[in-house]
């Protein structure tokens, strides 16, 4: 029962990982763009939520109504104003620029909010749970996180597979030069994709902030988990991102069962091991398309 509980809690935790990984996966899928500031952007989203909740007295869930559009606009503008200049067959410029952006965000957050840990308070729902058996209880917050993750990824998948915008995304991902011949403004499309990526990572950041306390320097750790989820599931695959997130979550909680003998790092350690095993045996990821 203890193990079953670990798996259930892992799936719930995986929802958060999947939410973190969504934007990373989208940006890579559409424009082969590796965003090293992704974790810091999540933390930025959480801090924006802190400001919005204190200034307007809103519930953190409700603050998403402000945080998501703000981050979406920021992503769109940043892609048009900066990231687009790094798009090239060489991945290095985008890695350098986003690494720099991550440092800038961390220090700007330190300057603005100090190094204190913060949290987003949503009231008593934080400690409420649904009791399933005597040994298994599902917390409301993790459950809501998982539902939101599935909804976000499902909406993204529908958009990509069913709409004209999604068709344009896939065409640009295949061959941007030929997509331009079709009248597609690839640069503008990249900006839209980055806007969506920022919006989803802001949601992830807010849910992280509701779940646990966070500080300005917590971004890189989140980036690592997001990367692992994306690689496990398959680069650029939407459902792969969900599967990767869930598997990583389960690895963390199952690994956590060994804390007594291995110490506190055993959860993330098993996550890293799962990541390495997938990378070594199936580099394109569990649901990834053929290696390119």
């Amino acid at each position: 029962m203890e193990w079953l509980n670990a798996i259930v809690q892992g799936i719930l935790l995986g929802g958060l990982f999947a939410l973190f990984a969504t934007g990373l996966s989208l940006a890579f899928g559409v424009m082969r763009f590796v965003n090293l500031a992704h974790g810091d952007l999540a933390i930025l989203g959480a801090f924006v939520a802190v400001s919005v909740t204190t200034a307007l007295g809103l519930n953190p869930f409700v603050s998403l109504v402000v945080v998501v559009p703000v981050m979406l606009a920021a992503g769109y503008a940043l892609q048009l104003g900066a990231f687009n200049f790094t798009i090239s067959p060489d991945p290095l410029p985008s890695i350098l620029v986003t690494f720099g952006l991550g440092v800038v965000i961390q220090n700007a957050l330190l300057q603005t909010y100090s190094a204190d840990s913060r949290g987003l308070d949503v009231g008593s729902i934080e400690i409420e749970s649904i009791k399933i058996t005597d040994a298994i209880a599902v917390g409301w917050i993790p459950l809501i996180t998982l539902v939101v993750a599935v909804a976000v990824l499902g909406a993204l998948q529908l958009m990509l597979s069913r709409t004209a915008l999604g068709r344009a995304f896939r065409a640009v991902s295949d061959d941007p030069a030929t997509a331009r011949l079709m009248g597609i403004n690839d640069r503008n499309l990249y900006a839209v994709a980055m806007g969506i990526a920022f919006a989803t990572v802001a949601i992830a950041g807010v849910f992280l902030g509701i779940r646990q306390s966070f500080g300005p320097l917590d971004g890189p750790a989140q980036l690592l988990y997001a990367f692992e989820a994306v690689v496990i599931g398959g680069l650029g695959s939407v459902w792969g991102t969900l599967v990767g997130g869930l598997l990583l979550g389960v690895a963390h909680t199952v690994g956590g069962q060994f804390e007594v003998s291995f110490g506190y790092g055993s959860g993330p350690l098993l996550g890293h091991i799962v990541f390495l095993v997938v990378l070594a045996t199936k580099p394109s990821g569990l649901l990834g398309r053929r290696a390119e």
């Binding site: 065409a171 295949d174 331009r180 079709m182």
Partner: protein
Amino acid sequence: MTLLEVRGLDAGYGDFQALFGIDVDVAEGETLAMIGANGAGKTTFLRVLAGQVPTRAGSIVFDGADIARVKAHRRVGLGIALVPEGRKLFGSLTVRENLFIGAHAGRPGRWNLDTVLDVFPLIRPLLDRPSHVLSGGEQQSVAIGRALMSNPRMVLLDEVSLGLAPVVVKSLYEALPALSEGGATVLLVEQDIGQALEVASRVVCLLEGRVSLEGRPAELARSDITAAYFGLPAGAGAEGPG
């Protein structure tokens, strides 16, 4: 009426200049074939017209406006559609999606999924297949159909016959009159001179980035074409290529 008027066009890639002072006129509704040896600059010329290669000097006047500085993604909206060399279908899209994305610019006109399928009935049963499983000839049909979906005033066809069996090439060329009847001006690049002379109302021959010959197929002697094609002195090309 002159639809396209190119004057003194220079273009190239990096340090390499591919086109030197090209002057070409294309009248509305005609089918112009551009011939020339490998590396003569034919494909580059089409890519310059479509905006994939920048214009270094000269002007490209299309329908009365100089489009030399217009970005590639805006040219299809003006009515220029390129069928690129190597087909370049979107591999992760189905055939239907490839055709629909051709209509992305939203130009109105007679071409839509049904009218395109009337011209290429063979792709009707393939609509929901991923485009990368198609044969070369099927892919070329989809690529031409995709260009038609944009309702172009001018279709640029780059090496339609490349890598295809003669019987397939023949069936593709049989679709050309439908393009012209639909009101489109056709500018095609072809290495197969025989094929080009058969379908074109006018021929332009390129040699090392310059126009070496121009005229109507009926008025051109085979030996002059050969000379212009290979850069031999006029009258020297007694044996025609292709």
